[in-house]
């Protein structure tokens, strides 16, 4: 189980951009607010556009109406001049007295303040009378205007409005000439000071701060509420709204313009032309005033939108929080599970998918907990098994080591024995021969007559010699048997393996051992206990070898009981138990005595060659070593010993039923046995 690392990204993964790393609550809030805002914005934008265009259309229409009205008023000013001049254009006016004509002109000047000078041109185009505000009246000056447009144009058009001109570069003037009625008419020419349109223009109200102004068709300012602009000889053809209205402009068809106005700032300007003088009357109002209703609607829509977005933000935040709290709980629970704490359960009561998810988590946690516990039990079991196997292995290994040790020792021993055997034969044979020679010597001396004392002495020496030789023979034989046993180590493969009735073999061996023991020591007594398993059956073994092993073990047992008798309390009943057991593929044979037992110090070395606890001359130290070889190496079985010092010793032999064939008999140097 690894520790949970929720924040560690998988190696090699590209880190997410920062904005994607927002907490869920913020993402949700952003998404929610964004969506609502988008809807509101679209709605607002559509609303705004419609309202704006509606209001704009209304404003433009209003402005257009105002422009027409203003144009009409300026036109009315001109019409006023025309009609006042018309006073003097009656058909019969030509025939009134010059005094009366002058009087009429003076009256005209008084009634029309804009007219600064008025003149009468007779039908020939000669000036007959001129009355001016500034200059002395001129009567019959006779100045010829017959080719001047003020005369010719008036005759052809009845009324002629001349071009605007500026007196002394400053004050705008215009010549108005009106042809008289009747045949062969004269013309009344008035010089009109256009400064006085100021009264008209400044009386035109255009909204709260808007105003009207008039330009010529070339863009030159004629009338403006600020008279100083007019007098300053202002050319407005560069002003966008004027430029757009001038003839030849690409926008000529349009009679309104939203642009920057005279004083800077955005204005809504509309214009109307006065065709007969080619003047353009503009009304302009600051866009803010003109579009007041539109602006209000914009503000209204915007504030509604803002309110909506605010509400969306509040609602989004609230919902996000509500959603995120259970998710946090879930996250905490998952982290707990991840850390291995499976005892607690996640409690979420939202009744939605998150609750379901929490249930799933809980179920998962339970499962994990269950499998965790099972797993622990299994691990414990396996560990136990493994320990068992390890123990077995270690035992097998130590046995193997022992076996190898014993094998090498055995080979060494066999080699030594082989070398010793020939000289020992010489010793033994020559000792026997010498024993016989002593008898022959006696026989030879028998007939001879000798001093009795000498004879006695010779007899005594011969006897001693004979005794010595007997001892040499006896010990030589013993040495011979040792050497033979040593050789057996390397010769256990002798004999044939065959199926043998195990119980019979054991019984035979027991009888042999018992009688052998009684033969060696007449007072020997021991009670034998037999416990044969009828199912022990047959095993494929080397019977001679196994018999030797059994005899060895049994005689060891007898020896142990004997030893115990020497030190035991009365009532001690020496017993040797022999048992067989069927172990399926193998057979178990137990040989148990209630003798002295084996001390702990001995047990480790008891299978070593030449190790013996018996007094010198009684054991060769090869019995158990040999038995181990036979059982383990030759038959692939095992031999174990269970003992308690002073109580009992039990050898437990396990023989596989078919192991003998598989087992390779050790390869002793049998061919060398026959060597001298």
């Amino acid at each position: 189980m690894t520790a949970p690392r929720p924040l560690a990204p998988p190696p090699g993964a590209k880190p997410l951009p920062r904005w994607l790393r927002l907490p869920l609550a913020k993402k949700f809030a952003v998404a929610f607010v964004g969506l609502v805002s988008l809807v509101l914005l679209i709605n607002g934008a559509v609303d705004l556009t419609l309202n704006y265009y509606d209001a704009k259309r209304t404003a433009i229409e209003t402005q257009r109406t105002k422009a027409r009205a203003a144009a009409e008023r300026v036109d009315a000013f001109l019409s006023g001049i025309e009609s006042q001049v018309g006073w003097t254009t009656r058909a019969e006016w030509r025939r009134v007295s010059p005094e009366q004509q002058r009087y009429d002109f003076i009256r005209l000047l008084r009634q029309a303040p804009a007219i600064t000078e008025v003149a009468y041109l007779d039908p020939a185009g000669k000036e007959q009378l001129r009355v001016s505000r500034l200059e002395p009246d001129a009567v019959a000056s006779g100045k010829d205007f017959s080719t001047s447009p003020r005369f010719t144009q008036a005759l052809s058009q009845k009324t002629w409005f001349g071009p605007v001109y500026f007196r002394r570069g400053s004050e705008p003037y215009m010549t108005v000439s009106v042809a008289h009625a009747g045949r062969d008419p004269g013309v009344t020419v008035a010089e009109v000071n256009l400064k006085l349109i100021w009264d008209v223009v400044s009386a035109i109200n255009v909204g709260d701060h808007g105003y009207a102004f008039v330009t010529t068709s070339a863009g030159r300012l004629i009338a403006h509420p600020d008279l100083s602009l007019v007098l300053r000889d202002t050319d407005l053809s560069g002003l966008p709204e004027v430029a757009a209205a001038l003839p030849g402009s690409h926008l000529a068809g349009q009679d309104y313009e939203i642009t920057t106005g005279l004083g800077g700032g955005w204005v809504l300007a509309a214009h109307a032309t006065i065709p007969r003088v080619d003047w353009i009357v503009f009304v302009q109002e600051s866009l803010r005033d003109a579009m007041g209703p539109a602006l209000e609607s914009v503000i209204q829509t915007t504030s509604l939108m803002g309110l909506g977005v605010l509400l969306a933000a509040v609602a989004g935040t609230f919902l996000a929080r509500r959603m995120v709290v259970p998710i946090r709980t879930l996250e905490d629970g998952a982290e707990r599970f991840g850390a291995g704490d499976l005892s607690e359960r996640i409690v979420i009561r939202t009744g939605d998918e998150i609750e379901t998810l929490a249930h799933r988590f809980n179920t998962m946690a339970s499962r994990v907990q269950d499998s965790y516990e099972t797993l622990e039990a299994k691990v414990a079991e396996r560990t136990r098994d493994l320990n068992q196997s390890l123990d077995d292995l270690q035992r097998a290994q130590s046995r193997l080591v022992q076996s190898e040790k014993l094998a090498s020792l055995g080979q060494l021993t066999a080699g030594i024995a082989h070398e010793i055997k020939n000289p020992l034969n010489f010793v033994n044979n020559f000792a026997s021969l010498s024993h016989e020679l002593v008898d022959e010597l006696r026989d030879v001396l028998e007939p001879a007559t000798l001093d009795p004392n000498l004879r006695a002495e010779v007899e005594e020496i011969a006897g001693l010699l004979k005794g010595n030789l007997e001892k040499v023979v006896q010990h030589g034989k013993r040495a011979d048997s040792i050497v033979k046993n040593m050789l057996l180590h390397s010769r256990t493969g002798s004999g044939e393996h065959r199926p043998v009735e195990v119980n019979a073999l054991v019984e035979e061996s027991l009888n042999l051992a018992y009688h052998g023991a009684r033969a060696a020591k007449p007072g020997f007594n021991v009670s034998l206990v037999r416990d044969y398993d009828p199912g022990a059956g047959i095993a494929d073994i080397y019977p001679q070898e196994i018999t030797r092993v059994l005899l060895n073990l049994m005689s060891n047992g007898f020896y142990a009981t004997e030893k115990k008798i020497e030190s035991a309390e009365p009532g001690y009943a020496p017993t040797l138990s022999v048992a067989t057991r069927d172990r399926g593929d193998s057979i178990e044979i137990r040989v148990r005595d209630n003798g002295t037992g084996i001390p702990e110090s001995v047990r480790a070395k008891m299978f070593d060659p030449f190790f013996t606890t018996k007094p010198a001359g009684e054991g060769t130290g090869l019995g158990l070593s040999l038995s181990h070889d036979i059982l383990v190496k030759q038959h692939g079985g095992t031999v174990d010993v269970a003992t308690e010092p002073g109580a009992f010793t039990e050898f437990i032999i396990v023989l596989p039923r078919r192991s003998a064939t598989a087992a390779t008999p050790p390869q002793p140097a049998t061919e060398t046995e026959s060597q001298p």
Partner: protein
């Protein structure tokens, strides 16, 4: 910053006043009327408690120069100068303080402004009279008194440019056309008026034209008295003298012009540049006939002339 700026702000505030420079003596009725009109119009333009200092110099040249020095030294925000003498006195002293004038005839020729539409300096304003009126006055006098044979134009320093009277040329040509002997006389002091009128009376069939200007404003009443006593028909440029006993007057209404000048002062106070405010000319001239004086002089005013009169004093 605030501490450093404070005294300057105070100074600017105390400076933010207007000085009106009048050619009348203090307490003069005409001066009072014009000053009241000016104040009222300025209050409409700016605000009710706009401070205006009226300076009354009279016709005295030395006093005019002294007062001009004084008021320019006071560094007002705008100077309003009525008539040429006042304008020339202050215009010589400052090129910075905006000056709005009323009554300086032909300011371009006098060099006060570059052009009428764009004055280009610190001076702008309203003219009252124009040169052709010299002819108009003669014609009016001739029409009233057809027997007229000689006319004297009473000129003074304030209407002259380099020794030449502004109205002299149209005056002479019109007089010649009407068969009248013209005479332009420049008078400098009150005492010089008497011999002029005495001469006219002695020669007979004479008339007098009183040109506008500071001198005429100051001595108009005396001229009226002299012409009445000598039965000399006189035309005044200044309208009020027709009401004071002069036979006729032909000229603009100065009250209206002063009001319009106040509007200019207001615009300058609001930050406009006098260099861009065009000089404006009058559009209307009133012809006033005093029938009472006519009767007392034994002058029979023709009905045609009466018909021309805008106002008749009875």
């Amino acid at each position: 910053m605030a501490l450093a700026g404070w005294p300057r702000a105070v100074r600017a505030q105390t400076r933010a006043h207007v000085v009106a420079f009048w050619p009348f003596a203090e307490g003069d009725a005409e001066g009072r009327t014009l000053a009241d009109a000016f104040h009222a119009a300025l209050r409409e333009q700016v605000h009710a408690d706009q401070p205006v200092d009226d300076r009354w110099a009279g016709a005295d040249r030395a006093r005019t120069g002294l007062l001009a020095t004084e008021l320019v030294a006071a560094q007002p925000q705008v100077i309003f100068a009525y008539l040429s003498a006042q304008l020339s006195a202050v215009a010589a002293l400052t090129k910075q303080i905006p000056i709005v004038f009323v009554g300086a005839s032909n300011p371009v020729r006098f060099g006060y402004v570059e052009s009428l539409q764009r004055p280009g300096g610190n001076i702008t304003g309203f003219t009252l009279y124009e040169a052709p009126l010299g002819g108009k006055w003669v014609a009016a006098l001739k029409e009233a008194v057809p027997s007229l044979r000689r006319v004297t134009l009473l000129s003074n320093a304030s209407t002259e440019i380099r020794g030449e009277n502004l109205y002299a040329e149209p005056f002479r040509s019109t007089a010649a056309a009407l068969g009248i002997e013209p005479l332009v006389l420049k008078v400098e002091t009150t005492a010089e008026i008497d011999p002029v009128i005495a001469d006219l009376a002695r020669q007979g069939d004479g008339g007098l034209i009183v040109a506008p200007g500071t001198f005429s404003e100051a001595n108009g009443d005396r001229i009226v008295a002299l012409t009445t006593s000598h039965k000399i028909p006189a035309v005044f440029a200044i309208r009020r003298f027709a009401y004071r006993g002069g036979l006729m007057s032909y000229g603009p209404d100065p009250v209206e012009t002063v009001r319009r000048a106040a509007a200019y002062v207001g615009r300058i106070l609001r930050g406009e540049n006098p260099a861009t405010l065009p000089v404006q000319a009058p559009t209307k001239f009133d012809f006033i006939v005093n029938l009472k004086t006519a009767r007392s002089m034994g002058v029979d005013i023709a009905s045609a002339l009466l018909a021309q009169a805008d106002e008749i004093v009875e």
